[in-house]
């Protein structure tokens, strides 16, 4: 396997293989109640406590669609720069499974609510456009639990009927890395829109991964396998890596690849065939006669369009122009709406004489490191944007040095303290009084006469020694610029 120029290729003897990946992402729509029933979608409830008669498919129960979920799907479609279909149809996808109470899933097959769109990826070597085939609304199934009871499978229907958006990409992805960036970008867009929280631990975002391989440069696609329901980016990457190599090995051995559904075993880190072939699926899709075609007006769509916030791509462009950020910095800051908002709040609170670069460095440096170590989202940051902006201004106006600022930052974590108070209480204010510093430096030169002479005789490296001594003597509070100036003069 080589990764030159970010290209992901699988090498065998004389052959180089390219991997072709398409994703069917299942994103849970952010809503209070389910797609066709009025029970709650809240995560983590006791089993079967958020199940209505409709969700459990009692005789005579009928679906009634949630308007908010329709709006969420359309908004997401707009975010994906996609065609919104004014008329869409709900179909039944028929199959039997323990956690599918109706014996069918209500989904959209022929006429989805959203048509073709695109997502732009920021790759290390430039941008790449990934085509979106469609987005449709459908119901989630319940949950089968296999590991509580040794004899039986238990069924929890809390998720049954929760609204999902299935977002189908074109087979435009070429590496596990691209998949990771694509998922993150998709999640970012949906979070900006507030249409999906993107929480993968809670299953709000999962994907079926379609993988095929072909000789590099070949035109035709190879036979694909679908890896079902992978729920973390890391697993998606491992699954693709495993699956692509498995397929290449089969080809190299002169064997056929069966088009099939596979499962990623997270313990063994490998994919395996999921359902026996004799049970080949035939979903018998047909329009759900309990529902009429969904029709939305231009007006309805346009109203939603005016609700669309600035999305990552536009925000990035603006950040570059308005704050003179590098594309790299901008990409990092806009990837998550909460980060972007935090950044803008810091900048705004810094006032007129702001130092945006410094703010970027502190956010992507110290703050990110802190959040990482505590495993927190930026929305849970122990340091508010306001206090961080004060801290940065303290550095900017010379009240404290960058080094002291790090100490102050550490103190700020406890209870989001005002950095000015910390500086005052701990006496961390920078010494910028030239007279006081001159006295301090005179003493150091006096104490180190021999070294001073060596310096004068050309051992310039010793300058750093004197700076260090001066900083140490001041308890780190001395203004380093002044120290430099005075030392140059005195030595």
């Amino acid at each position: 396997m080589s990764k030159n120029n970010n290209e992901y290729l699988i090498n065998r003897k004389d052959n180089q293989y390219e991997v072709v990946i398409g994703l069917e992402v299942h994103a849970q729509v952010t809503s209070e109640s389910k797609l066709f029933s009025s029970s709650s979608t809240k995560f983590g409830a006791e089993p079967n406590t958020q199940v209505s008669l409709v969700d459990a498919a009692f005789p005579g129960m009928l679906p009634v669609i949630n308007e908010f979920c329709v709006k969420q799907a359309i908004k997401t479609g707009i975010g994906l720069k996609a065609k919104i279909n004014k008329r869409s149809v709900f179909d039944r996808k028929n199959y039997f499974y323990a956690d599918l109470p109706q014996g069918y899933q209500i989904s959209q097959f022929k006429d989805p609510i959203v048509g073709e769109g695109k997502v732009i990826l920021d790759l290390p070597n430039g941008q790449k456009e990934i085509g979106i085939e469609r987005l449709h609304l459908e119901q989630d199934a319940g949950k089968s639990i296999h590991d509580i009871d040794p004899q039986s499978t238990l069924v929890d229907l809390n998720r049954s009927g929760v609204a999902l958006m299935e977002i189908v990409s074109k087979p435009d992805l070429r590496s596990p890395e691209e998949v990771s960036i694509y998922i993150k970008k998709l999640r970012s867009i949906m979070r900006y829109l507030g249409t999906c929280d993107g929480n993968m631990q809670e299953g709000s975002l999962r994907a079926d991964v379609n993988v095929s391989v072909r000789l590099k440069g070949a035109k035709d696609f190879g036979t694909r396998c679908e890896i079902k329901n992978v729920n973390s980016i890391k697993f998606m990457q491992s699954a693709i890596d495993y699956e692509a190599n498995r397929q290449v090995d089969l080809i190299e051995d002169g064997k056929n690849i069966d088009q099939e559904t596979r499962l990623f075993d997270t313990k063994k880190n490998e994919t395996r065939s999921m359902r026996s072939k004799e049970d080949a699926h035939d979903y018998r899709y047909f329009p759900d006669p309990d529902l009429l075609p969904l029709e939305v007006s231009d007006d309805f769509i346009e109203k939603l369009r005016t609700d669309i916030p600035e999305l990552p791509d536009d925000k990035k462009k603006r950040f570059i122009e308005q704050f003179k950020l590098s594309p790299y910095e901008a990409t990092i800051l806009v990837s998550d709406i909460a980060t972007a908002n935090y950044f803008e709040e810091v900048v705004a609170k810094m006032g007129k004489n702001r130092d945006v670069k410094l703010a970027v460095n502190w956010i992507t440096g110290e703050l990110f490191a802190l959040l990482n170590s505590k495993n927190l989202e930026i929305s849970q940051s122990p340091i508010s944007a306001k206090n961080l902006s004060i801290l940065i201004n303290l550095i900017k106006n010379g009240t404290i040095s960058g080094k002291i600022a790090k100490t102050v930052f550490e103190h700020m974590v406890e209870g989001d303290k005002d950095p000015q108070k910390i500086v005052q209480e701990k006496g961390l204010k920078q010494q910028s009084d030239p007279k006081a510093l001159e006295i301090l430096i005179d003493k150091i030169i006096n104490d180190n006469r021999e070294k001073a002479i060596e310096y004068k005789n050309g051992k310039e490296k010793l300058f750093g020694f004197f700076v260090g001594q001066a900083m140490k003597a001041s308890g780190g509070k001395a203004n380093p610029q002044l120290i430099n100036e005075i030392l140059k003069k005195k030595l």
């Binding site: 008669l53 009692f58 005789p59 005579g60 679906p63 039997f96 069918y104 047909f286």
Partner: protein
């Protein structure tokens, strides 16, 4: 005053309002008669004790402003009734007790009616003779060993035998109108979307409609007033202006144009039916209506279309009966085995047959040839009616191609059984209202019905025509109490 059970619904309502009889007396009268009529096998579940209790409660605090004040009514066992077993005539729901109430029955209780019991029907409403019920076939009160029709056979039989003053059924391809015709009673299949489907065990969602069954047209209108309502819980329920059907009921149909579709003169139609139809045409003329010849060219394709659409929807609607959440479960070695055993033991032969047809016509490779084709022909059938209604106000046809037949006579020949619905099925496919009224007897003395088909939402019009014709026809049913020993 005649014996209570012999009174019509409107007589009962009047007598109770005038305090001539009590709800308890009415209820007792029907219970007593039902107890003597077990041989008809109409009740799957009786609710007699509870009904009596409710009747007494009503009498203590009567509300005479209600439309069905203290009137006991038995309903088809396809309507889910809270805390009362609901089986759909199937073993697979044999032990199912809903915790909820269908909208249509709730509407009745809201107007003061009292649940008398649940009436037998063909399993999941699939049948035309009430021989497919897990609870055995229903006996017609018309004659021994005669079918009452289906699938609302228990309802028709109980109504004709006067075990309930009125009743409600469901009609997917003729399941109200055909049994009404076979038992000399009145049955209305409303416009699709007029009565909520919420809480009714589904057979074929795009065709199913609940409707009233009664001894006469006036009672039919009265009950329809109560059960027809817009319902937010049913996405196919339609919010249209419903008239007050019974108050506006009028015999004046002078100048109304009534269409006679030539395609309903089917090959091999018995002379009796032909004559009945002609008699109907003459009565309509007597009432002042104008008779117009019309054409519904795709009529002969209606049954084949129906036998694709209805099983397709049913195969999916019945997938929920899998032994997991409610109903019957058979032990299986694994999940699939459990499903297969549960469904092959829990469903009867006709239901299994229709599930198989439905699965087949939707399966990959056959969808376009069957299901899609049927949806297109359905469009043609609907367009036929749209065309016809440019010229006429209503259409008059026989309700069925023959009178009732003997139990077991057509059981082994599904196609000949399906032909029973030849005149009723097009109405369901087009979503239109249709009413069957008794119009005569065949040579054996079995009742025959005429069907009046209306425009969508035009129930008032067909009720008026039926009301006017009913007077001219002056049908007298010949039912004796032969089954009461």
């Amino acid at each position: 005053m005649s014996e209570i059970y012999k009174q019509t619904l409107s007589e009962l309502v009047n007598n109770i309002k005038n305090k001539k009889i009590s709800s308890e007396e009415i209820t007792k009268s029907y219970i007593a008669r039902s107890e003597k009529s077990k041989i008809l096998n109409t009740f799957v579940t009786s609710n007699f004790d509870e009904a009596l209790k409710q009747a007494k409660n009503f009498d203590k605090k009567p509300n005479f402003n209600l439309k069905l004040p203290g009137i006991p009514i038995a309903v088809k066992d396809l309507f889910c009734t809270k805390n009362v077993k609901t089986t759909a005539g199937s073993k697979i729901l044999n032990n199912f007790i809903p915790t909820y109430e269908s909208t249509v029955t709730q509407n009745m209780w809201n107007e003061g009616a009292i649940l008398l019991g649940k009436l037998n029907c063909d399993e999941f409403a699939m049948g035309s003779s009430n021989e497919t019920s897990y609870f055995g076939n229903v006996q017609s009160p018309v004659d021994e060993n005669l079918v009452p029709g289906g699938s609302s056979g228990g309802s028709a039989s109980a109504l004709a035998a006067k075990l309930t003053p009125v009743t409600i059924g469901t009609d997917t391809g003729g399941s109200i109108r055909q049994p009404a015709s076979f038992t000399g009673t009145v049955g209305l299949k409303p416009t699709y979307g007029s009565c909520s489907r919420y809480g009714i065990v589904a057979f074929a969602s795009s065709l199913d409609q609940a409707g009233p069954m009664s001894q006469n047209v006036k009672d039919c209108a009265l009950l329809h007033n109560v059960i027809s309502s817009y319902d937010e819980k049913d996405s196919t329920s339609i919010d249209f202006k419903r008239s007050n059907y019974s108050e506006q009921l009028s015999k004046n149909i002078k100048g109304k144009k009534i269409g006679i579709p030539k395609e309903y003169r089917v090959e091999g139609m018995p002379k009796e039916i032909e004559d009945l139809w002609q008699k109907g045409i003459n009565y309509a003329k007597d009432c002042g209506a104008e008779i117009v010849d019309i054409s519904l060219p795709h009529t002969t394709y209606a049954l084949p279309t129906y036998y694709i659409v209805a099983p397709a929807e049913a195969s999916s609607n019945l997938a929920r009966y899998d032994g997991v959440k409610y109903g019957f479960r058979s032990k299986g070695e694994n999940l699939i085995d459990m499903y297969e055993k549960t469904r092959s033991e829990g469903f009867g032969a006709e239901v299994q047959r229709r599930i198989m047809i439905g699965t087949y016509v939707l399966s990959s490779g056959y969808y376009d040839a069957y299901y899609l084709k049927a949806q297109k022909v359905r469009k043609l059938i609907k367009s036929d009616f749209d065309e016809a209604y440019k010229k006429v106000d209503a259409i008059l046809t026989p309700s069925t191609p023959s009178a009732a037949f003997k139990i077991g006579e057509k059981k082994d020949d599904p196609v000949s059984m399906y032909l029973n619905d030849i005149f009723t099925v097009p109405v369901n496919l087009a979503g239109l209202p249709g009413i069957s009224i008794p119009a005569g007897h065949d040579s054996k003395g079995y009742p025959l019905g005429l069907q009046i088909i209306g425009k969508a939402f035009d129930e008032q019009n067909i009720l008026d025509i039926a009301y006017a014709m009913e007077e001219k026809i002056n049908f007298k049913n010949k039912i004796t109490d032969w089954w009461i020993k």
